[in-house]
């Protein structure tokens, strides 16, 4: 199925939540959806016949300087098509529902997004840091990140 068709299908089902279709000259087209509805949309995408996106290839957090975001790259092993969903999140206290219950792989990806960007995923079973130490301060991949000067009394070289 083409990306455009999937988008139309999704738009029909969720007219309110599907916000925008970004098609670019180079690279992959993507669909922006409402962050609050992400769980329902993902569930629909996984369970609907003809779509069946059963494989979450990648979940990435993003910092667009003026806003945060998450990007979901989906495959369907059965139909061999791909789809990209994006959400935009506010700069202050970004949070959105977790898709861990739909794709278990999101567990660690969401923890990483939390670790690196401070994006909170609601209903996640274990929302703690994953790559940085558990008591690290700040969210390193944010564009305005300033590193800690010392960690447990050890100076961090710049």
């Amino acid at each position: 199925m083409l990306v455009q068709e999937i988008y139309d299908n999704l738009k029909e089902k969720f007219p309110e939540a599907v916000l925008e279709f970004i098609g670019t000259a180079t690279g992959d087209p993507s669909t922006v959806v409402d962050a609050g509805q992400i769980y329902n949309i993902c569930k629909y995408l996984r369970d609907q016949d003809g779509l069946e996106f059963d494989y979450l290839a990648l979940l990435s957090g993003m910092d667009y300087k003026d806003k945060f975001g998450t990007v979901y790259h989906l495959y369907s092993l059965k139909y061999k098509h791909r789809f990209v969903i994006k959400t935009y999140l506010p700069k202050e206290d970004p949070s959105l529902p977790s898709v861990e219950r739909i794709w278990k792989t999101a567990n660690w990806h969401e923890r990483e997004a939390y670790d690196m960007f401070g994006i909170k995923f609601e209903n996640h079973p274990n929302m703690i840091r994953i790559l940085c130490p558990y008591d690290w301060e700040g969210y390193p991949l944010r564009k305005d990140y300033v590193g800690q000067e010392t960690y447990h009394g050890v100076r961090i070289p710049v």
């Binding site: 000259a25 180079t26 690279g27 992959d28 990007v71 792989t105 790559l131 130490p133």
Partner: protein, 382 residues
């Protein structure tokens, strides 16, 4: 699929559960991984992986680096299969910049990627055997890997971290006796594989150790987005080289190896390992075909762009790495540095499945299951 655990009744035994830290320094965690495990006697009841001991801010660095400078860093993700690592990134940038690389470059890339796949699977099988206590096959396989590394050294100048696939071409042309060397390597690899099949894989003790251990059902594997031999060992026929043929993989005749019920159960450690053994053979076939079809003349550097500056946009480009699907989600803002480069680390995703599949087995099995997933901590922690 029904999941078979070693049945053990915890209810009646009045005993204390033991918490054991496997790692960060442990002989068989393949790096600095810490597994916090809970034991009931010798039975594992819970596993909590703690990762990040090797975290070195790969993604943050990439935002400060120009595109060609990112490649040496990518080498260091999965340092066992560096050639394969470079490919999806380079391919993604080429797609963004709309560069069509020459035929010869494509063939050389395929040959090197497949050679590196063989080298990686050799390490995977070897260390898996060592986890089970068999040390000798380990050295036989490493001896052969040395030949592959020598060829890589004579081509790219480095043995392990090649920096060889560049945007638009390759860093160096292949050495003059390249074809003979590659064919010779294939011959040796086949001979050793046959020997390892008898010495290690066919050994009754090893078979007993690995079959029905760490069974990963297909639906769980897909739900956890496993890829590579871990997914194919569970019987899912998903190989990006076939499913979404990139580069010139549609020109070659090869099979996707999947696990079977022949020895053991689909999705157990044995099947994950035998998939690797069979994939080595398939890689040999691809290399033979590629060497036969490869054009002899051509400049590998002719399509180098003056400045690597992809236009504004974003792309997710992935390739079938030896360990699974390695992808790079590249967001470019038109400058000479990536706005964001997010990697889809294969080992990171595959490791997440570990707590799911090793409950109810023994400590010795836990080590084997970890070995059969074949992780590299450089990639897990980035």
């Amino acid at each position: 699929m029904e999941r078979k655990f070693i049945e053990y009744d915890f209810g009646r035994v009045d005993s204390e559960r033991m918490r054991l830290n496997v790692g960060p320094q442990h002989p068989s965690t393949h790096g600095v991984l810490r597994l916090e495990i809970e034991l009931e006697g010798e039975i594992v009841t819970d596993v909590i992986p703690h990762i990040g001991y090797l975290h070195r801010c790969f993604e943050k660095y990439c935002e400060q680096m120009q595109y060609p400078q990112v490649i040496p860093y990518i080498d260091r993700l999965d340092y066992i299969a560096s050639m394969n690592n470079e490919w999806p990134f380079v391919m993604g940038v080429e797609k963004m910049m709309n560069i069509q690389v020459p035929e010869r470059v494509e063939y050389i890339r395929v040959i090197f990627a497949e050679l590196n796949r063989i080298a990686n699977h050799q390490i995977a099988v070897a260390t898996f055997g060592m986890d089970a206590g068999a040390f000798t096959p380990f050295l036989y396989l490493f001896r052969d890997r040395e030949m592959i590394l020598n060829l890589f050294e004579h081509t790219s100048g480095a043995r392990l971290l090649y920096n060889y696939f560049w945007v638009g071409g390759l860093a160096h042309d292949v050495p003059p006796n390249f074809k003979d060397t590659a064919l010779n390597i294939i011959k040796t690899v086949r001979a050793t594989n046959e020997e390892v099949m008898r010495l290690l894989m066919g050994n009754k003790i090893f078979v007993e150790r690995t079959v029905k251990v760490g069974i990963l059902p297909a639906d769980v594997a897909i739900n956890f987005a496993c890829s590579g031999p871990v997914l194919r060992g569970s019987g899912v026929e998903w190989d990006l080289r076939k499913a979404q043929p990139y580069s010139i993989y549609d020109r070659f005749d090869f099979n996707v190896c999947v696990g079977s019920n022949e020895i053991g159960v689909i999705g157990d450690s044995w099947n994950r390992n035998i998939v690797r053994m069979n994939e080595m053979e398939q890689s040999c076939r691809i290399i033979e075909q590629a060497i036969a079809q490869m054009p002899n003349e051509g400049d590998v550097r002719e399509k180098f762009p003056k400045k690597v500056r992809p236009p504004k946009g974003e792309i997710y480009c992935s390739a079938e790495n030896p360990k699974g699907e390695l992808g790079f989600y590249l967001v470019a803002d038109g400058g000479n540095k990536p706005f964001r480069l997010k990697s889809r680390p294969t080992s990171f995703v595959n490791l997440a499945v570990l707590p799911e599949i090793c409950k109810g087995y023994m400590v010795a099995d836990l080590i084997l299951i970890l070995g059969s997933i074949d992780i590299v901590l450089g990639e897990v922690d980035r």
